[in-house]
Amino acid sequence: MLVSLNWLKNYVDLQGSTPEQLADKITKTGIEVESIEYIAKKIVNVVVGYVESCEQHPNADKLNLCQVNVGEETLQIVCGAPNIAQGQKVAVAKPGAVLPGDFKIKQAKLRGVESNGMICSLQELGVEEKYVPKDVADGIFVFPSDAEVGTNVSELLNLEDAILELGLTPNRSDALSMLGVAYEVAAILDVPVQLPDTSMETSPVKANDKVAVQVDAPELNPYYGAFLVENIQVGPSPLWMRNYLMAAGVRPINNVVDITNYVLLEYGQPLHAFDFDKFASNQVVVRRAKKDETMITLDDETRTLTPDQLVITNGSEPTALAGVMGAANSEVSETTTTVLLEAAYFDPKMVRISSKAHGLRSESSVRFEKGVDPNRVHQAGLRACQLLHTYANGTVLSEPAIFDQLDKSEKQVTITTERLNARLGTTLEDNEVSVILKKLGFNYEQKDDAFVVTIPTRRQDIQMFEDMLEEVARIYGYDFLPYTLPQGAAQAGGLTKHQALKRYVKNYFESAGLMEAITYSLTTTERATMLVSPEIEQEAVNPIRLSMPMTEEHSTLRLSILPEMLASLSYNVARKQMNLGYYELGTVFISTEKQVTKQPKEKLRAAAALTGEWLTHPWQQEKKQADFFLIKGILEGLFAKLNVEASFEATKIAGMHPGRTALVKVNDITIGFIGQVHPQLQQSFDLKDTFVFDIDLDYILVHFENEPSFAKIPRFPTVSRDIALEVADEVAAGDIQKTIEDNAGKLLKDVTIFDLYQGEHLEEGKKSIAFRLLYFDPERTLTDDEVETSYQSILHVVKEQHQAVLRG
């Protein structure tokens, strides 16, 4: 809402506040002033001039040579505007004037002829192009003939006005009118509001003799007033009205249209003017639209209607889409002489549906959607008639035709000072509360300790105690509320175990050298099904797609963090950052339904991706490419830290390198995978060798939330044995290790692989793996025999299960 302060002054005394002071007060009291604009600050030396003569320039076809009387002198001015003519009153910038944009006016010679100033257009005086009336948009501005020669145009054109732009929250639609803003400012400054005088002379001829109103859908239209104004002369509206409209961001058209717009802005009540001759009937019938009924609106569009929309008709065909836009068939034009003026209350929800369905949001529909003040509908109609009488020479017929079932009653809300103080933390007294209510312009009655407040209908947002609490608090001033701390019982705050563990996992990844990434949850449909861990693949039927995505890029909820993480790596590599190690903790969304009806399962996953060199130390020629065992080491470190036993099992997953990918298992349950991205997929992301994992962190955190229990530090010596086994290449070291662990007996405490050998001295297709076995018993020293027995049984079982032989 744009508020011209010069316009506002007509209703409320601003007490000499500067625009900045006023804006600050309004903002602090509840409506944010987003900006203060001046149309043109301090224009001097621009005055009204009378064009005494206008002839063609001797040396230029398109220029005119004018003699312009500016009061104390007559200036010769060269003017190129197409609409200049002898006898006009125009805005003359005299030499010495400075126009907006720091444009200085000087004496000059144009094509050999002296020119002492400039005749100005509105744009040159600082008015925004889009608000300039169309008839003067391409040329100079022409004043009405009663403008006094020599007057400063700043005043005449309201150029020194300050415009406050209000950012209105949805509850404050009462401030969508100049009167509403006046009430707000009056409450802040503690001054009265001066309402417009709507008294006028009316014709003895009765409007309701000439037109009847019939409302078939009173639930959507509880009030319809039809006013008639005859003998209208369509022409420009008065200069002051045009100025105010332009300041409010509305382009002046003609007096009839301007007056309906003016009253819309003044009262917040949209009006519609029909050309009564074109209306072609003497009855207004308001009804729901029929299914598939069509009409052509003012913008020449054919609209197909539905029964949840309301139409104004002449009894046979629609003449307006109620609350939204008029029909072309009854539009006011230059030749209109009788105006049928509609002042109505339309159901907010109906207007919202209707304007949304047709994509037509206008100053009118916005106000109807919020609900107009029931007690201002008729007043606004009268105000428009009065202005049509004064500024369009209209004859206003008495007794408009009215349908009225509108509830205009005022609500009452009871408040007590005690309850206000209890909720605000203040120590207000009754008299302070009554002062605030008076400032707000709310009537009240004091009954015992309570104030029974009558809420004016302009404030539809106030319905209960808490709403009044806010009114009192904001007029009292939020700045004056004390600072207190809650007096309830103290509680210990804190993280849950799950949350603390999550932080612990993050810290681990960071200490391992990974950088935390945060990627989007919404991805493409293609990426949503890429690199999905097998256990999720099995559970999720489909990735979840938005019903109306904005872009394909963010259309589908992820089943894996990895694709968007690869995209992040790719983004960096394209910017020459080649060595990257990222992790992310994030949610994936699993739906087990074909057609989603229930909330999906949300699982916390941990994913990581590494590419490029890792810990390169150039001057010592140390350079290592990230590889499978680097990322595996990082993941194993996590498991070790969390005291989780995990195993890895070779597997094949779409999008992953077929020979370098493993399932990650805990308790024999697959919880994720690890490996190298398939070279083709790497290439599609413009990446070199890239290694990733993606695991179910929820599973780990939920199943391993226990503190590790204390294990005794061994007092007796440990015994270690090395064992080198020769096996076929395809036998997995992890499988042999597991066999050893499962069969060595309880004295074996640890098995590590310390050597892997392939090549010379070994048969083709064979490899040698060396294990170190660690034995101990916390209670006693082991005997050689015990260790030897275990060792022999290991040799036996690995031969049986893996055809492994002891390497000689």
Binding site: T27, R423, G425, L481, G488, G494, L546, Q599, E602, Q620
Partner: protein, 344 residues
Amino acid sequence: MKERLQALQQEALAKVKEATTLDELQSIRVSYLGKKGPITEVLRGMGKLSPEERPVIGELANKVRETIANQLDEKKQQLEKLALDKKLEAETIDVTLPGRPVAVGGPHLLTHIVEEIEDLFIGMGFEVREGPEVETDYYNFEALNLPKDHPARDMQDSFYVTEELLLRTHTSPVQARTMGEYKGNKSVKMICPGKVYRRDTDDATHSHQFTQVEGLYVDKDVRMSDLKGVLNQFAKQFFGEEREIRLRPSFFPFTEPSVEMDISCKVCHGEGCSVCKGTGWIEILGGGMVHPRVLEMAGYDPKEYSGFAFGMGPERIAMLKYGVDDIRHFYTNDLRFLKQYHKA
């Protein structure tokens, strides 16, 4: 014999002094102090001496031995030290060359901010709650006093999955869920950080995915001044002791009265500058007293219980606190960006 011994001492000490290697010292030791050396020889000839002379010469001989031995030891230490110095000199490295890197990772700036906010409120007795990102229309809107045809739903156009399911547009549904869980008879003191989603085209100031931290305190007799006190404490701890706060009236469907909180501008301290667009204040968060209908729907009697709620955007806070100029930086994961904000 006395003269002979003194001469031997002089001779030996001169050789020790001239010696430059440990080997030389060793041969001096052997030749003078060894069993076949001249001093032993002198002592062997003591038999010829008178009984009175014997102890005198014997003592002198021992003294000479001792003196030579001491000098030898001292010289040995000197030479050893020289040798070590020389060896260490040879081991000199260029200490200005860069060290071998260790892996240094770090948290995302948003995590850093969210955890800092969490910790501040934990310190004030708040617990941290989480909730689903795909929410029901009921919890996301209706339980927060935003019925189906409420005009304020326009304010936050949302990503729907079905008519009843959507990506949450704020973390406020966690408040409703928590209150529901506590069944209307227990105080609630919580914050809920998390990802939220809105139908916005990504640009420098908008992101279809962003982060929110909401707080809620419901108890008997919670006052609006408590909201002001708690937010003031948060602002001073998070942004600095010297920062002031102010509350302005605002509107949210789930609070009444509603507020927006500004903090005084760091650059101009309230005087007005280009950073704060001349107002001296910067908007940080929104909040208010929990709307009675929200309390009611969650099973709390608004006559007995009251509360306050607030919500803030870590992206916006990061942009203000660290001068980040484009919200998209938080989601492109540019290494150069991530590296700048390691937790100190």
